[in-house]
């Protein structure tokens, strides 16, 4: 297996052309019309401390990756490309992943359009997402891939209209793009049907909505910055991004969902405060009585971050998931003991310390839920040896009192990882 990793790295190394040695040469370099290719090669290893009884394995991350990026533009058009060639030894498969292949243009003075495969983000949370219902890859995140990979690309059309009154950001994703969800392939998880932690083989495969136009995703953001305060309203029509429902055959699927929300963010108390709310309408179970479909939910986020001392930053967040019609939920539930609490409280903290002129960054991110009685710790160290070489090592530690809670279900998947990257 390791041999295949090496072969991959050898295969991609011709791309690792020498870095431009341009300090003394012409600055005109950047303006030439040739495509400039940049990217990186990365090797990553991660492992549990003990074998997970469900998956029967220790490995969580064992892959070699080569990234290529380029862009081309003239006065009216920009084309972007970012793609990865990946050998993932955990699932023993080669993969080509296009993260960005877009055409961007501005058909009007105040209108920007971006079409194609792209990564999309909005909202104010730090690793918590209320109104950002674009696809995410929590599996890669848990395994210790670069944070960039938490955001999965989607095939979308994005329209930005800028006016004096308000700015409008509209994204249409014609074919539903779900999150990467827990399948049992890399990490075990809790199944309410089995009433236990499982790692199905073949991996879990949820039913996705059929790809007709009415099953597309529509996401809207109205935003404006006024006196340094950023205000935004959000709307979304699509589906829960995780397969939280079960159909009549008890196969997981993505129930219909509409969300409305709002956020603000501003400087305050020598730091930043943010607040965000969202209401998820579970369109197929508005009465909250269908045990196979999640209920409506109200979500709230409050955050504050600031520099505590020079080079040391602290960020804290409080997050609430308030399940609506909770009595109906329990009354009709097939397994009330596994249903979410009416109020799921979650606190997070991010501590970041920068040393050696930012070459060494230590950080700790903590998720802690007093209502679920579970937590997730993410300490990591990032070292930038040079403009070419960077390394990161970290831990994902999951624990909880119960098997069915969000982080508690992952407690056999705690892992340590290390990644080394060469940029070119």
């Amino acid at each position: 297996m390791t041999v295949r990793l090496l072969i991959l790295l050898l295969f991609v190394s011709p791309f690792a052309v020498a870095q431009d040695d341009d300090w003394n040469d012409d600055w005109a370099d950047d303006e030439n019309t040739d495509l400039q290719w940049t990217g990186f090669i990365e090797g990553a290893l991660g492992s549990r401390w003990d074998t997970d009884p469900q998956t029967g394995s220790k490995g969580t991350l064992r892959e070699g990756r080569a990234r290529l990026e380029t862009d081309w533009e003239n006065d009216s058009l920009a084309i972007g490309f970012k793609g990865d060639a990946l050998y993932d030894d955990i699932i023993e498969a080669f993969d080509l992943e296009i993260r960005d292949l877009t055409l961007a243009f501005s058909p009007g003075k105040n209108l920007d359009v971006k079409l194609g495969r792209q990564v999309l983000t909005w909202g104010t949370g730090d690793l918590l997402f209320l109104n950002d219902l674009f696809a995410k890859d929590w599996i890669g995140f848990f395994a210790g891939r670069d944070t960039e990979y938490l955001k999965a690309p989607s095939n979308s059309a994005r329209f930005n209209l800028y006016t004096n009154l308000v700015n409008i950001d509209f994204v249409w994703t014609p074919v539903f793009e779900p999150d990467e969800y827990l399948t049992g392939e890399r990490f075990s998880f809790f199944s309410p049907l089995a009433g236990a932690k499982v790692a199905p083989d073949p991996p879990l495969s949820a039913d996705e909505p059929s790809s007709n136009v009415s099953n597309g995703e529509f996401a809207l953001r109205l935003f404006r910055t006024f006196n340094g305060t950023e205000y935004a309203l959000y709307g979304y029509r699509g589906f829960f991004k995780q397969p939280l429902g079960f159909n009549a055959q008890l196969i997981p699927y993505f129930p219909a969902m509409t969300a409305l929300g709002a956020s603000l963010r501003r400087s305050q108390w020598s730091g930043l405060v943010n607040a965000e709310v969202s209401y998820y309408f579970s369109r197929d179970d508005s009465s909250g009585t269908d045990p196979l479909i999640p209920n409506d939910q109200f979500r709230l986020l409050l955050g504050f971050e600031r520099e505590a001392v020079t080079n040391f930053n602290i960020g804290v967040q409080y997050y609430l998931e308030w399940t609506q019609r909770h009595d109906e939920l329990l009354e009709h539930s097939l397994a009330p003991e596994f249903e979410p609490e009416e109020y799921r409280h979650l606190f997070t903290a991010r501590l970041t310390y920068r040393a050696m002129m930012d070459k060494l960054i230590g950080s700790l991110f903590v998720f802690y839920s007093p209502s679920d009685k579970d937590y997730y710790l993410r300490p990591k160290l990032t070292y930038r040896y040079s403009d070419q070489w960077t390394a990161e090592a970290g831990v994902s530690l999951f624990a909880g009192d119960d098997e069915h809670t969000f982080f508690g279900q992952l407690d056999d998947n705690s892992n340590t990882y290390v990644r080394v990257r060469y940029h070119f």
């Binding site: 920007d112 938490l150 910055t225 920068r354 403009d387």
Partner: protein, 265 residues
């Protein structure tokens, strides 16, 4: 906090060169205008070579757009990074507010994330260089007490003592300000031990569009031995940039019209 950008540098006109100023505060005000407020707006390409105490080199390359709302007052900055490859496409937007916390945003293209950055210590490394954010954006003239130590044929030599010593790592600093251009040519910082431990020096200036402008400078860490060289090229002033250039739109969709290199240097 005050943000970015050194040395799109500047011009001072109308003062009788022959006659030496004697008011330290007035000299500092003129130097602030000269160093940070040249033209109503401006653009420049910049690159840095960061050399640490072990001799290892790192580079940064970026384009800076700057617009002043008022001479000596609030400013807007947009910094678009092109090198090294891991920061290519990163864009930094600052609304510098004199006497209040600045508003700052960073765009991370890999995540399509518009990250707001909290006010922080201005005297920390700017993108890994020996320059501080404050060197790049300017230190508020009101933050120190100024004293004119000496007037030579070429320089006003001033000593500055911080009004809030707890907020900075120096006890005092001395600047050599060019009497003709009012550009600070050398700055030396002294620590509690009485030692000069940090130096910012101008290596080359040029007159561009009538504005004396720093085109090459160096900041040295005299205790560790490392230093950063910074060069500016393709500088242009008074391009008529509208305020809309400095908004969230430019983070996701950098304003090519203004970032693009002018026809002639």
């Amino acid at each position: 906090m005050k943000p970015l950008l050194i040395a799109l540098g500047l011009a001072v006109s109308g003062l009788a060169h022959g006659q030496a100023l004697t008011d330290a505060d007035e000299i500092v005000v003129q130097a602030n205008l000269a160093a940070y407020y040249a033209g109503e707006d401006g653009r420049s390409e910049a690159r840095m070579m960061i050399i640490d105490a072990q001799g290892r080199e790192q580079r940064r390359q970026f384009t800076v757009l700057r617009r002043s709302l008022e001479a000596g007052g609030d400013q807007q900055f947009l910094v678009s990074f092109s090198r090294p490859s891991d920061v290519r496409g990163t864009v930094y937007l600052v609304n510098k507010k004199v006497g209040r916390d600045d508003d700052r945003w960073l765009y991370l293209p890999g995540l399509d994330l518009v990250k707001r950055i909290s006010a922080g210590d201005e005297r920390t490394s700017f993108v890994g260089a020996h320059y501080f954010y404050e060197d790049v954006s300017g230190r508020g003239p009101d933050e120190d007490a100024h004293e004119l130590v000496e007037t030579t044929d070429q320089y006003y030599v001033l000593k500055h003592v911080p009004k809030n010593p707890a907020a900075v790592e120096f006890v005092s600093y001395v600047t050599w300000i060019d009497r003709k251009t009012f550009l600070p040519i050398r700055i030396e910082y002294t620590n509690a031990g009485g030692k000069v431990y940090r130096r910012v020096e101008v290596l080359e200036t040029k007159e561009i569009d009538g504005h004396p402008t720093v085109v090459s400078s160096r900041t040295s860490d005299l205790s560790s031995g490392g230093h950063t060289d910074m060069q500016f090229r393709y500088i242009a002033y008074d391009l008529g940039m509208p305020t809309e250039v400095f908004t969230e739109r430019s983070l996701r969709n950098p304003p090519r019209q203004w970032l693009k290199r002018p026809a002639a240097d």
